[in-house]
């Protein structure tokens, strides 16, 4: 075996390596792949390992539940000032003037700053066509305008009210149907574009725009439309078509967007609630013209992001300006209202889905037309599932963004996919009924993904699919049903993912990476990977993450984190292991490759009594500390994106009270795959969270805009309704171990696919219960009663 130094200097050297491929409990085969010689040996399947794949409680769980974990909101620095933003009360306006005099004079105020430009919104493509204005045009109520920093939060709040702004109100529209009509007030005077973020979001650039309607664009992120739908529908013997609507959902992370900015002569340090320490650093460095090396971003713990926390944001820019002006650290944490209004949301959709199939169930054509609103942003597409779930030869998606005067969308846990699945999976259900084919069998016929096939089988066993009765079988007022829907998501890899592993002479092990924990538990997964390699316990590894002082970590978006950052962790640990084995081998008088590591010992594989403790080996280090840095290596011959898909199949059992319209989710069975699960306990936790967010999306959450004033009426947690403990059903997680030989850990991702299918599964269960389709979410009592009454009307009151 080549030594570490040789392999590093000869990256072109490869070796053939056998990897396990397949699904545990179904079939595992060995496949041989050429990998760089510096790669560690292939890992066996999880059942052969000591730490990886074992349910492992979070290393930081105790810190979190005792309140000892320090979130950005908890940061208090000496001399720190408190800030408050000043936001627009109007949905559309030109600012004639801003007078900050009174605010500046308020006791305790140290700095006031007015924003020069707005981040996160679309901008007019040809800047000469933007409305002339000294200040950014206000395009939504809640758009930040300025901020005040003072010695207390109370003083900042009071002073913020003293900033005098003279608005010229402009005509507005907050209703997407109205916005599409000719003569509707224009949100932008000319075509507009928005850049995406590290987590996606934003739409394709340079799209034709007519009034407030931008697009349609055809095709998706992996390419143009497939085949010819005219031909596909001509081949079809059965065609189904349906119209569906989904609402705007706000991210509603428990920790609001916030930052503590500490501007000093020698550099800027920011404590940010972010899912991308590096992406915040990059945005701040760009806005302030600073070298990236002078910007340090720290995120020890963060309270949720879901896609809306990649950049510095307007609040980060404001806090940094205020800190620079005041010469003191500034804390700017948004309140819940600002969070709902200005920091992102999941776009709405208004979809028409048409599917054609042959009588044997072969889908011949899928056509999706969608109009969604991302407010003053772009990227309301919902076509991913229609494009990528099934092997249909003819697929056309035509999708347009509808601008309205509301806060911009941001990437949100599988952008476009919950919307798309809600519609697509109900049409698949309807198609199955029309064809007289079981919905699971119909999917078997059209879905090539091997993991989902297993998930359908295992999930069906757990929920008891054979109990499922024909739609509308119950006679009483409360009706029960079972439904299924599935998700598709993709393997994205952030190649800019690095880890350093250090061992000191006392035998302690440290891991350093800029990667942050968005909540999935990456600290523990990283510790498990290093512990496996070094023969230690996960709790032996001191994991330091969430700081751009450490090697660059990936942003946590697109379900990339575990997939991207665990391979370099293993590779760095492997390099350390080789160095330690060399020392141990000399002591034990054997060749290094005769050694093995487990249970805190390094020993001769053929005679485990012959060995040293890990600490004894470390004591032989010639320097106090050794360190190895590793960066993500390519996916063993596969590209960074767009080749594998992950997914899941969820089964819902619901009851519908047809007299009150209340839908109760009684049980969800969630069968999912994520490549090799590193920590099945954390993966199950992600799935639980995805299901809960999916239930909340299906039944409760809804941004409600008052069309007469252009204001959101429920920017709080009282009337913006989120599922709580009593809305939590029994959730059974079925986790598939799938091996694909894509990296040294072969880990995938789970955060996003876990929330995609829930609303579709609930809708299909609703249909099975009542014989009526819910074509719009959230399924409020008002909508449920209307849909049931409508169906009664159509069937002459028979139901």
């Amino acid at each position: 075996m080549a030594s570490k130094q040789e392999s590093k200097t000869s990256p072109s050297t490869t070796r053939a390596q056998k990897f396990p491929v397949g699904i545990a409990g179904v079939e595992i085969t060995q496949t041989e792949i050429e990998v760089p010689a510096s790669e560690p040996p292939a890992l066996g399947v999880n059942s052969t390992l000591n730490v990886i794949g074992k349910p492992t409680p979070r290393l930081d769980g105790r810190l979190k539940v005792t309140g000892a974990a320090r979130y950005s909101a908890d940061v208090r620095l000496p001399g720190m000032l408190f800030a408050r933003t000043v936001s627009s009360p109007l949905p559309h306006a030109r600012i004639r003037s801003i007078d900050t005099t009174a605010a500046e004079k308020y006791p305790g105020v140290r700095a006031v700053h007015v924003l020069e430009r707005i981040l996160g919104s679309a901008v007019v493509r040809d800047t000469s066509k933007e409305m002339p204005s000294k200040y950014p045009i206000v395009r939504y109520a809640g758009q930040p305008i300025a901020a005040v920093a003072a010695t207390s939060q109370t003083a900042a709040n009071e002073a913020a009210r003293l900033v005098k702004i003279d608005f010229e109100p402009l005509p507005f529209v907050v209703d997407e149907d109205r916005a599409r009509e000719p003569g509707a007030p224009l949100v932008f005077p000319a075509p507009a574009d928005q850049e995406g973020t590290a987590g996606g979001g934003g739409g394709p650039q340079g799209i034709a725009q007519n009034g407030n309607v931008r697009g349609p664009s055809k095709g998706g992120m992996f390419g143009p439309p497939r085949g010819d739908i005219t031909k596909g529908f001509a081949e079809a013997e059965v065609t189904v078509e349906g119209e569906f609507r989904t609402q705007v959902q706000t991210h509603s992370a428990l920790e609001t967007h916030g930052i503590v900015a500490d501007w000093k002569a020698d550099g800027l340090t920011v404590y940010a609630s972010t899912q991308g320490t590096a992406s915040v650093r990059d945005e701040i460095a760009e806005v302030f013209g600073l070298p990236k090396s002078r910007v340090r971003v720290i995120t020890e713990f963060m309270g949720g992001g879901f896609g809306a926390k990649f950049g510095a944001g307007n609040e980060g820019v404001l806090a940094t300006h205020l800190s620079k002006k005041a010469g003191a650290p500034v804390r700017l944490l948004l309140d819940r209202k600002e969070e709902h209004l200005s920091t992102g949301n999941r776009p709405s959709s208004h979809q028409t889905v048409r599917i054609g199939a042959r009588k044997d169930g072969t889908i011949t054509a899928i056509h999706l037309v969608n109009y969604g609103t991302a407010g003053v942003g772009t990227g309301a597409g919902a076509g991913g599932p229609a494009q990528n779930m099934y092997t249909c030869a003819n697929v056309l998606t035509e999708e347009a963004d509808v601008f309205i005067n509301a806060g911009p969308a941001a990437a949100f846990r599988a952008p476009g996919h919950p919307q798309g699945c809600f519609a697509l999976e109900q049409m698949i259900d309807e198609l199955a009924e029309r064809l007289g084919i079981d919905p699971l069998v119909l999917r078997d016929r059209n879905d090539a993904n091997p993991a989902r096939r297993v998930e359908r089988q295992r999930g069906a066993d757990v929920i008891g699919w054979s109990r499922r009765r024909p739609a509308g079988s119950d006679s009483g007022p409360v009706k029960r049903g079972i439904g299924v829907a599935q998700s598709v998501w993709y393997r994205f890899t952030d190649m800019d993912s690095s880890v350093e592993v250090r061992v000191t002479r006392d035998g302690s092990v440290e891991l350093l990476s800029g990667v942050q924990d968005i909540g999935g538990g990456i600290r523990t997964a990283l510790a498990q990977v290093v512990a496996e390699e070094l023969g230690l316990k996960a709790s032996d590894i001191n994991v330091r993450i969430g700081d751009t002082m450490y090697p660059n970590g990936p942003a946590s978006g697109g379900s990339v984190t575990t997939n991207s950052i665990t391979p370099p962790a293993r590779n760095a640990a492997y390099a350390i292991r080789q160095r330690l084995f060399a020392l141990a081998a000399a002591e034990l008088g054997v060749a290094p490759d005769a050694l093995s590591a487990a249970d805190g010992r390094v020993f001769v594989a053929s005679d485990s009594s012959k060995g040293l403790t890990f600490k004894q080996v470390a004591r032989k280090l010639k320097t106090e500390q050794i360190a190895e840095l590793a960066t993500r290596t390519p996916n063993y011959g596969k590209p960074e994106r767009g080749f594998d898909n992950y997914g899941g199949v969820q089964f819902a059992e619901v009851s519908v009270d047809t007299e009150t319209g209340i839908v109760t989710v009684e049980r969800i069975v969630a069968a999912h795959d994520c490549g090799r699960p590193i920590n099945p306990l954390a993966a199950a936790s992600q799935i639980n969270g995805g299901v809960l967010q999916g239930i909340s999306y299906a039944l409760y959450e809804n941004r409600l805009m008052d069309r007469n004033t252009g204001l959101m009426v429920n920017p709080n947690f009282e009337q913006y309704k989120i599922a709580g403990s009593r809305e939590t059903p029994q959730i059974d997680v079925v986790l598939i171990d799938e091996y694909r030989a894509r990296s040294s850990t072969d880990a995938g991702g789970i955060g996003e696919p876990a929330t995609v299918p829930t609303s579709g599964a609930i809708a299909n269960a609703f249909y099975n219960a009542t014989g009526v389709r819910m074509r719009e979410i959230p399924m409020t009592p008002a909508r449920v009663l209307a849909a049931l009454a409508d169906a009664r009307g159509r069937t002459g009151g028979a139901r």
Binding site: T154, I662, T709, R726
Partner: protein, 325 residues
């Protein structure tokens, strides 16, 4: 929130002496804090009555009535044996309100006096009728949770679950002012928007509720309470019904039926009561009563569904009360 001063009253008289048009009474402080944070209440002084001795008692009088102090928390109300025995609908209403954390702090008096949850009222950005403006934004706006009865000129629903129960129980309030105490039937305590759109009750500036008196249950009394929210955890009702029936065997001698979350005041369904009085409690009679309960509803553009829900809840709640005979 504005700066304010603080009076810690030790007696009712001390509290009354401190009250004027610029002060606010603080008991549990739950609703008051919300109002102050949004700038809807800007008192110069808070008069804390939480430490007044004797206002947190639950007593049973010789006549079998319950005398409940206004500082009794919703949590205690929901679990107190005497209350559960003599006024089950009140215990149930208190136990289904808000969240466990809020029920630990919120008081019965505060629950009766809380301001409505209408989102137009609750946002300082809408200068609605209730705040002295000239417009009810709910009439042509987002009114899915608003009133289906008595909803002109203002369409709030009364927010108090305990009020719904107490009206059904024919409770009385003891109200103390500087010149002494008066007693008022709780039904007469709440006022409609037509009477004064800026208020929900008739409590004077320098007055406190000092006791809530629930008369002894009549012989043969049975009762039931139902709250329906879109969610079960932390949500306001979209329909709420309290039913108290005086039964003689299977015949209903006298019915008291009150709907919550449907009108600016606890809404007594007199038509439904009349439909039950003197009748044998069978399914047809109960269905008639439920229909009568919603006759005359005047829903707005987005809350018609609440009429159907109210009807179903009245029917189910009467059935539940009848089943407990």
């Amino acid at each position: 929130m504005n700066a304010f001063s603080w009076t810690d009253a030790r007696t009712v008289d001390e509290a009354l002496a401190a009250l004027d048009g610029t002060t606010a009474v603080k008991a549990g402080g739950i609703d008051l804090l919300d109002l102050m944070k949004e700038g809807l209440a800007t008192p110069s002084r808070l008069v804390n009555i939480r430490n007044i001795k004797g206002l947190d008692k639950i007593a049973t009088t010789d006549a079998g009535a319950l005398r409940i102090g206004p500082l009794v928390t919703l949590d205690r109300l929901s679990s107190d044996d005497e209350v559960r025995k003599r006024a089950l609908v009140l215990a149930e209403a208190a136990g289904h309100a808000a969240t466990p954390q809020i029920r630990n702090m919120a008081t019965l008096g505060g629950n009766l006096l809380q301001r409505p949850r209408c989102w137009y009222f609750r946002s300082e950005q809408f200068n609605c009728l209730k705040k002295g403006g000239d417009h009810c934004f709910a009439q042509e706006g987002e009114n899915q949770y608003h009133a289906i009865f008595g909803n002109q000129p203002c369409a709030i629903v009364h927010p108090s679950a305990t009020a719904t129960a107490l009206v059904a129980l024919h409770a009385k309030l003891e109200i103390t002012g500087r010149s002494g105490a008066r007693e008022v039937a709780i039904e007469d305590f709440f006022s409609t928007p037509e009477q004064d759109v800026t208020r929900e009750n008739t409590l004077g500036t320098a007055e406190l509720i000092t006791a809530i008196v629930v008369p002894a249950p009549a012989s043969g009394a049975v009762s039931a309470y139902t709250k329906l929210g879109e969610k079960e955890s932390f949500d306001w009702p979209i329909g709420e019904v309290a039913v108290v029936l005086e039964m003689n065997g299977s015949v209903c001698r006298s019915a008291s039926i009150v709907l919550g979350a449907v009108a600016p005041i606890p809404w007594r369904a007199r038509g439904a009561e009349a439909a039950l009085n003197g009748k044998t409690l069978d399914n047809a009679t109960i269905a008639d009563a439920a229909r009568a309960a919603v006759a005359g509803a005047t829903p707005l553009a987005h809350n018609g569904y609440k009429v159907a829900i109210a009807e179903a809840l009245v029917r189910r709640t009467i059935q539940a009360a009848g089943a407990s005979v």
